[in-house]
Symmetry: C2
Amino acid sequence: MLLTLLTTLLMCLPVGEAQTLSSPDGNLEMTFVLSEDGSPNYALQYKGGNVVMPSVLGYKFRGRASAKTPENYMRVGYDTLDFHSGFRVKDVQRSTFDQTWSPVWGEESRIRNNYNELAVTLEKDGIDMIVRFRLFDDGLGFRYEFPQQKGLRYFTVLDELTEFRMAGDHMAWWLAGDYDTQEYNYGESRLSQVRDLLPGTLIDGASQHVVAPTAVQTSLQMKTDGGLYVNIHEAALIDYPTMTLILDDEDFSFKADLTPDATGYRGRLCAPCSSPWRTVMVVDDARKVLASRLILNLNESCALDDVSWIRPVKYMGVWWEMITGMSAYAYGGAKAHGAESGNVRRYIDFASEHGFDAVLVEGWNEGWSDWFGKQKDEVFDFVTPAPDFDIEGLNEYAHSKGIRLMMHHETSSSVVNYERCIDDAFDMMKRYGYDAVKTGYVGNIIPYGEHHYGQFMVNHYNRVLRKAAEHKIMVNGHEAVRPTGICRTYPNLVGNESALGMEFRSQVLPHHVTILPFTRLQGGPMDFTPGIFEMDMSKLRASSRQQIHSTLCKQLALYVTQASPLQMAGDLPEHYLRHMDAFQFIKDVALDWERSVYLEAEPGDYVVTARQAKGSGEWFVGGVTDENAREMTVSLDFLEPGKKYVARIYRDAPDADGVSNTYETGSEACSRYEIIEKKVTSKTKLKLHMAPSGGFAISIK
Amino acid sequence: MLLTLLTTLLMCLPVGEAQTLSSPDGNLEMTFVLSEDGSPNYALQYKGGNVVMPSVLGYKFRGRASAKTPENYMRVGYDTLDFHSGFRVKDVQRSTFDQTWSPVWGEESRIRNNYNELAVTLEKDGIDMIVRFRLFDDGLGFRYEFPQQKGLRYFTVLDELTEFRMAGDHMAWWLAGDYDTQEYNYGESRLSQVRDLLPGTLIDGASQHVVAPTAVQTSLQMKTDGGLYVNIHEAALIDYPTMTLILDDEDFSFKADLTPDATGYRGRLCAPCSSPWRTVMVVDDARKVLASRLILNLNESCALDDVSWIRPVKYMGVWWEMITGMSAYAYGGAKAHGAESGNVRRYIDFASEHGFDAVLVEGWNEGWSDWFGKQKDEVFDFVTPAPDFDIEGLNEYAHSKGIRLMMHHETSSSVVNYERCIDDAFDMMKRYGYDAVKTGYVGNIIPYGEHHYGQFMVNHYNRVLRKAAEHKIMVNGHEAVRPTGICRTYPNLVGNESALGMEFRSQVLPHHVTILPFTRLQGGPMDFTPGIFEMDMSKLRASSRQQIHSTLCKQLALYVTQASPLQMAGDLPEHYLRHMDAFQFIKDVALDWERSVYLEAEPGDYVVTARQAKGSGEWFVGGVTDENAREMTVSLDFLEPGKKYVARIYRDAPDADGVSNTYETGSEACSRYEIIEKKVTSKTKLKLHMAPSGGFAISIK
């Protein structure tokens, strides 16, 4: 098999100006070549084995406008400009980079950025395009660059042709490609099965546009039969449409598909400019995927001069009660208004008592009585509180108790309206002392015909980030584009949703959180809103039959397996009051990390991670499993040798079960847990049981 | 012929629930009927003769969403909801209205609004739609109304089916239907010739989208062989797309064509709501078209509590020198920057000396060096002056001389950007003392795929008006939608372009200004920028071969024939200095009128109008002709009998010629004029010669 592939590779790579590039450790080798017709191709090998077969690079641009004629007086047409063949190599530059940098917050305090670089300047008809490759030990990044030059200033993309030709029918953990939502379940299958399984992964939502029957989103995690973990994503998505991958399920190749704008164009560019980085991570151990900093390293360093105001935030919210239908977002209806001042004060009291930083209040403003699914232009103004939400008094009350309120800007995807109002909205936030905003983009986008992941919206999200930074406001963007490491450049982007979160309750499959760290979290942290203690939704709303399929300990583990500087305790205060011993872990767990160790991991099966808190030096360990129970042996050899620690272990009880709960049986088996304290050292090996859809959490002092 | 048509009419009108409505004077009769399949129709007769043959009313709406199936999991489809047949008449209401109102400014100080009304409530499947007809002595207005009701709240228009079936192959003065521009020449032809002649009327522009080979814009002026003047337009275009008319040139009927949004929908409505008024003016004398207030009467009364700050404005501008290429909009290029402070002061000095109110300065701000035709999102910020434009000093200087500067907001059609910036922009205007803004929408609209005349943009223009009113700012909108009488409701809309203006120089045909009062000006005043004294463009820019085809006296006449509270003296101070005797008319002419008398008029041929100034009681008379010379006898019987007046007459010299000038011959013959003073009374009849593309102007004290 390997020989066949190698032969194919050699046959496909025409002789000529081949350029090779090796990773610093020599395991990866990238080959760039122009074929006889001047078409650029690249290929990638790991220890001599093919990972990416020779794959196309290039574009189709909009070319010259057609002349008007008596027959064609009504509409101007445009030629297609071939920017994928007919090139010559004009210049080749090589360099090496090795630097260690410190993020403002993150999974570790120091990140090494080490790569070898090859920049090939291609020329066609007097126009230059640079393809820049960076080869790291854990993968490849490459992008297209368009210098400002005579003959190229403003131009329009019809299609980006970039291919990723896989060497086989790999296993994959994939999300259906959609221009408007990531709130689907992951498929877990061979590439050849994507087409059949994709419809079953979809979840109805307020805005969705499935791209194609075999389209999948990035970050896409794959595993070869040879045991290599291959992950395709993009980094530094700025002023460019988001890439989806369209799978050819006969030869297992992917083609880039850029999110079109309302007129069908897939990018409006102005030189000098560049594409985002296209990334192919290749590692031989699943844990190395989680340890990879490829995406962050390919982003620009921090653009903010002052980051002193950016801080980790542990928060509660007047939110779950509305999500579950207990109370209402809207003021004045039949159901109680969640954001009513007295109710908000109750959350502030609880959050303050237990050491939280903030309380999110949704439904605080006017507009909620008639907003959903209407594609109304003017809905919310972001400054007018509901009559029973005492914005001034509540902020004063919160501040007196060491709590900040977190602002909520649901835009209803009327982005034109949000952009009209945002200056006033941010000014008002600062007036009352808010320093963080959760934004929301529920529903189809206005401007009509634009998509959540098109260039217009990518620019919008980044515009909001920049504007927020000017106001020293942290942003937690929901329904926004999947992150691509932008948080390195704008560390006030402390969270994103951009995947199925706990709000989907019974629709979250048990394996979901064992996949997220390999995929969605590669680009940045997620406001997953874990910490749900009551799994039986009928307890919150009598008419609900929904059950969350997770043990309570798995909920605790998520605070470690899914690192984020912004973590919510999603459930209601009254539910925490019933399990204050377990709640202690949520109170204790850190949000920002000195170091992370990925102990065990396999996508779709399990993840066990240990992290050392920045500052205190305490360790926290979390483990989660899919629908299968597992026995795990956790070696604590990351601890300082010779030092004695006390570990507090939160683990599923032997008879706990996070999967079998139904409305009829109730969810009592989900919340069977044990908490034990134990003296440990770096030599300790803990044997831990995880129930079906279970997990464990450990704090080590 | 008449008999045949009547027979056709009777055959088409099925027996049943026919309703008739007469105009107050009884000359017009409208018939509404439901045909056997429940399709609503209307017809209009003038003195028993057919003007509008039975014509369809109704809509196609977006209906139910298709269910998702395994085969159709990717995209939701929608049924078409037939809202043009299957109706029953649920209710009929009749009423009469007669009221006289006073506009804030306009062609006369008191306007009578007198009509008989018929409101037919149609019901289908439990949903009501009201068709409301108002029949005036000079025409019909009707609109669709959608009360808020169970089963109808948010809905989407696929097509408005309204027809206007003409009774013959009328002569017509028409503008090619386009979703983005009105800057075309008028065609003058039989309806049957529109298709052949339309391409020849088009002018290349920065944004254009011709609707169809026989599509024409409103206001559309027609004339029947029987001598009736029929004009189709719309009134009160609010939260709805602009209507174009698609001509069926075999049976001479028009169908409404609503400007689609970026996704192809033709209206996103929320009950309670209504369509704009569709209007059919029918009069037996061309002068009555000019005297009609049908469009204003169908608009809502003034929405502003305080209008004291709205004032007529006579202005000059740092503009013509850029339009003609003498100087540059952009700072820092090879060509001198027009808005340079010293140059602006020169205009302020001249404008102040000659009693003007304001000076427009274009190119005053950053962004002009790279803006045109790029569809860039972020171009202008509307607050950053060019380095050589001393915004504070110039405003102080202007104010010290009794002049206000007029702000210029060229948006480059990046409406998303303008809406982001407009609050800051208006705040800055007020800070420096600006009270009027000229807005511009050159280029294709952002949001991508939207059109200048779509609902999104209609809402934008009205949003700008409302926001400007809050800041006490008057608006002069260029490249905006053709006006539909909105200035009655928002009298701070003191001007619009929305047609070919003087800036098109040699492209303005001699008959153009004899058509505008019948068409474009029906909806509101135009910032036509007349008063060009130098017709030879090579005098301004050596490389130009352009010649304006107009006599100087015709330029003067336009200040009267084209009433507007906002009038520019478009030419350069140095050109006026050469003809100060003629310039006196521009200095003298009023902007707001007590009374207007339409002395002679024929579309495409000539217009002679007399107007009495509000306040002073002085009279001004203007006459313009097309390419043909004419001898006119002007009776001054509008003057107060027995009173003696002095008339100052500005007339073409006998050898003047506004048509024959070429680059080779020069334009000297255009500026041959005579000025005489004469004592006149109400019995005086003036014989006046108009040169080819000539005219005359008279001031009477």
